[in-house]
Symmetry: C2
Subunit: 634 residues, 2 copies
């Protein structure tokens, strides 16, 4: 599949956009007119630069309000078009997007529109170019792809075809399966955009909220499969109007976009092979396995979802503060790495590595996660094909090789063999016998919570979904003293991996947030949280203090007896319950940019104590302020 992207999707000057698209690995780009108009580069320079970068210039767009007009207006419209055809010749672009008329159409007659488009096609052909007519979802008379295609057939000119845009089709709830009935040679271009499911007017939705395929709610894998079955083999191009992309780092956004197309191809190919292109369709599935389509859909190395956390790594040059907390929670020190300033602490299947390498001046933070997978090498290969940057730990011949990639926020993600006793543990000197596991009250890592900058949130979700095959759960929003925190859980179906990605609010006019105001954390699972908490209290651990008001409210919300409330309060334990079961948990104080949590899940409770999150955030905000994270007034 030839990948392309419209320059309007990303930030920067036209030159910067082209460099970023080439670097990300796109085959071509669409030139969005305004990007050219404001550029100091001449059309010839643009053409030469694209040539040097190996980018094809696939489309010039948009050309508006041409057809369906009073015949008196047509000469001026043709004059406008001729100027653009000349420009396209200078750019070396052979296809121009013509959007269905929004503003000037007054004749609701397909024959008139077709006749006018035919004359446009004749003019285009004289310049050796062609036009791709697209139905905008809000076009005055033409707003469905079937209608646009009908007019193209009526126009009956070799230089007149159609452009299909997933947003304009799916935003109206239109059925894309009809694409398979179109004439393949009349589909001149395809644009893809996803979008979150929002109930708002289509124009605003389209202009501000589009996202890359896989980041929204549209079934674009099915859409692409329809295109393949229709026999389309031209470029598939991203056309995303998104306020955030427009102001974000151009190279990151381009990479994110290409990743979305790679993953989309993989899913579309799988749908074709499984015969589930139209999953909701009652008809017998048509299995396309082995079918050869003109469009080649590249598949990714197939991998299974991870089965557990291998380890979590905390990087810091002050290991003592973390080590102390771990010891207070009952973790055992398993020794120092034979060669590096790295400590290993374990309890049950929970393994925490405290890494002092390249950590000068670094306060504790979560720097890497190990995921146990069936085929580590294949997993890394998949992630790298998805354009994640590979990382690997330097190792000597007799040491376990650890391979992984960087997540968008810089966290290192390692793909590790699935085993209850990882081989790399042998590289740590046995400081304490491993036999004291009888005292292990903590069983494993329950979940990990990572903070994400808001503008990179969709990118992070797409990464974990495509590279690690985690599933998304509905997002929740939690109030904090400095704004709403949006939390997106990504997990495996069986819950062996649970990752919560949090978007933290931005810092506004001295409202006082710092990185430490929204620390990340690792949560451990136990079956006896009272014993863990008592042991930690006895060991002098600093718990995050829970306000008394919380327990009064708890007593009002749940019919808990006074003794239970007293016990919870005495141990700074938080409580939640739903129809499936109960949840008990507590937090440590923050060290650096992280803290730890211990949780107990009773019955079928499958959540994370979301009703208690505001209590935690407020308490952390207070502690942060008392420690000197100031809050100034402007």
């Amino acid at each position: 599949m030839r990948t392309s992207i419209a320059t309007v999707c990303i930030s920067g000057t036209l030159e910067e956009k082209m460099l970023a698209c080439a670097r990300a690995g796109f085959d071509g780009i669409e030139i969005f007119e305004q990007d050219l108009v404001v550029s100091p580069m001449s059309p010839e320079e643009v053409r030469a630069l694209a040539n040097r970068l190996g980018l094809t210039l696939d489309l010039y767009q948009p050309f508006r309000d041409f057809e369906g007009v009073d015949e008196a207006l047509l000469p001026e419209n043709l004059r406008r078009a001729e100027a653009k055809f000349e420009l396209m010749n200078r750019l070396g672009i052979d296809t121009m997007l013509v959007c269905s008329n929004v503003a000037t159409a007054t004749v609701d007659d397909d024959a008139v529109a077709a006749s006018q488009l035919r004359r446009l096609g004749e003019a285009a052909a004289r310049h050796g170019v062609r036009i791709a007519y697209e139905a905008l979802a809000w076009g005055r008379y033409v707003n469905t792809y079937r209608h646009a295609h009908r007019i193209v057939e009526l126009a009956d000119h070799p230089a007149v075809g159609t452009c299909l845009d997933s947003f304009h089709i799916l935003s109206r709830g239109d059925d894309p399966s009809g694409i398979e009935d179109l004439l393949a040679e009349k589909i001149f271009f395809v644009q893809l955009a996803d979008a979150p499911v929002l109930s708002m007017d289509i124009l605003s939705w389209s202009r501000h909220y589009r996202v890359f395929p896989g980041q929204g709610g549209f079934d674009l894998a099915g859409f692409l499969a329809h295109l393949a079955r229709a026999g389309y083999a031209g470029p598939v191009s991203l056309e995303i109007f998104n306020d955030t992309f427009r102001q974000s780092n151009v190279e990151r956004t381009a990479l994110d976009g290409l990743r979305s197309l790679l993953w989309l191809q993989d899913r579309a190919a799988a749908r074709l092979a499984a015969g589930t292109v139209v999953p909701e369709n009652g008809a017998a599935p048509r299995n396309d396995a082995g079918a050869a389509y003109p469009m080649h859909l590249a598949s990714l190395p197939d991998v299974q979802a991870p089965t557990g956390f291998d380890f979590a790594e905390i990087r810091t040059d002050e290991p003592e503060s973390v080590a102390q907390m771990l010891a207070q929670l009952g973790f055992g020190f398993r020794g120092q790495h034979r060669r590096k300033p790295v400590q290993l602490w374990t309890q049950g299947q929970a393994r925490i590595v405290i890494n002092g390498q390249r950590a000068r001046g670094a306060t504790p933070s979560i720097s890497a996660l190990g995921f146990q997978v069936a085929e580590p090498r294949r997993g890394v290969e998949r992630a790298v094909q998805l354009r994640a940057r590979a990382v690997s730990r330097h190792n000597t011949a007799d040491e376990q090789e650890l391979r992984g990639v960087n997540a968008p926020d810089g966290t290192e993600v390692f793909y590790c063999p699935a085993t209850p006793r990882p081989a790399w543990m042998g590289e740590f000197g046995a400081a304490a016998p491993e036999g004291d596991e009888a005292a292990a009250l903590i069983e494993a890592v329950d979940h990990v919570n990572l903070a994400q900058p808001w503008q990179a949130f969709d990118e992070a979700v797409l990464f974990y979904e495509s590279a690690l095959r985690l599933e998304t759960r509905p997002a929740t929003e939690v109030p904090s003293p400095l704004g709403l925190v949006r939390s997106q859980v990504m997990r495996t179906a069986d819950g062996s991996i649970r990752l919560a990605l949090n978007i933290v609010p931005q810092v506004l006019d001295g409202a006082g947030a710092s990185a430490r105001a929204y620390p990340e954390h690792v949560a451990f699972r136990t079956s006896d949280i009272f014993a863990v908490a008592r042991r930690a209290k006895a060991a002098g651990m600093d718990f995050l203090p829970v306000p008394r008001n919380y327990y009064q409210d708890l007593a009002a919300r749940f019919p808990l007896d006074e003794a239970t409330i007293d016990t919870l309060r005495g141990l700074d334990l938080l409580y939640d319950r739903d129809e499936h079961g109960a949840f008990l948990h507590f937090y440590t104080e923050t060290v650096g940019e992280m803290f730890l949590e211990v949780v107990q899940r009773d019955g079928g409770y499958d959540g994370y104590g979301a009703p208690n999150a505001p209590v935690r955030l407020a308490a952390q905000f207070e502690r942060n302020r008392l420690r000197g994270g100031q809050r100034t007034t402007t």
Copy 2:
């Protein structure tokens, strides 16, 4: 009118919220439960703090999902309520908000709901408190204020009344005039929220997009007038769920909120006096002038809109760069201030003051605007009553006194007498005779463009609307290389004052913006822009360069002959046209954080050349980068 605000509206801890509300001047607050639950302050401490600050605690909220339930659930619901009544006694709050049931109601029977609310009222009365029942717009069975009031009447208990919330009423398009038919003594509480007109689901709209009265699209002045006529005299409280307010500076937001209520009272009082409470109603207006209502609506000093710019001030410690541009545009140096390091430059009615006071290290920026008004003293008085901070220029006895206030972004706004030759000009030594006005091609300031941080945008619009009586025009959005710039024009009806407020995109992960990437500007009006541009070119002025691609596009868009295009290109002039007339303009290079523009309006053209703004923004972005405003990659 007693002003109040819910603590959920603003950021920070409960203590910070209370301090900010008291400082802004609110009479009271509503305690939002979650703010108390997460607070380390005990209920007694909250009560004592409110007492010290002179704040009444007007409402405890919210209490959810009480009525319309199976009788088997009622004891547990009453138990929950009793716990809250006890808490309210400790807080010293006498009213609790009860929202209509969303989740647990199964009995759609007003008699059952009323009977259950009566029992709640009996329990409340035993604690000396009362309940205010509110219809949520998305309540399961009860979602209109009339329905809630009907149930309250059926409940027939002195401790059971209703709460009216403008959002829940107006978001549904419900007619608020029926408020006048309610029993005044049964209206226990009133909450106000405005909201922009959005077509989205009501719940999301309510939870994220509410704004202060006057910042959205609801007719809240009419709403308040209905309340006055209904005989309500209790607190009128802001309950605004807004993602931005939650993360903004708490003191600014509180002040903004109180300002909105002050201005609202003024407009409601005017509507009552004019008998236009229900403007769209065909019935004869009922003039309430002189009518005494239990609710006292405070009026502001009445003022007229300004009639022209008195001056624009540029603060810098490097006056030469600005002075040179002004000279090249044909401005005359009118001398140095007799006492201060301040220069005056004029041309026609355009007066530019270059102020070197308190300007150490300051690159040129727009620091103050003088507005000519009929009654300067009254204007300042109005602004100060609207809680704007007064500024005044130090002056000696024989100098003109300049009085004004700070706009939210810090720009100083001066109220000046309306005169073609301001008296303060006499304080500047006459460096050049004023007689060379024959050469004055520039007539006056056409408009001023100020950049606003996005989170303070609504606040700025409310300020200019309430304090200066400027009108808002529909906002436009303009793409720049680093994101969309939203532009909001505020002006007088006659166009003598035009102020464009721009929200500039945020700086995201090294995407390279700096303050200078979005400079502000002053635009001057001329009737012969060709002469101004030629004179400036001859004087060696640096124009902002316009790309050649722009002129090629212009030739495609408009039927302009080649000679005209050549002239425009030779002078770096931009062109626009609409159904009213044509617009010609050019920009200078940026100095510091500002630049200058010259415009010519032909025919009835009333816009600002918005189609050309992307060209300017891209050119400024390029120039900024070439000058070293770097763009890094993360």
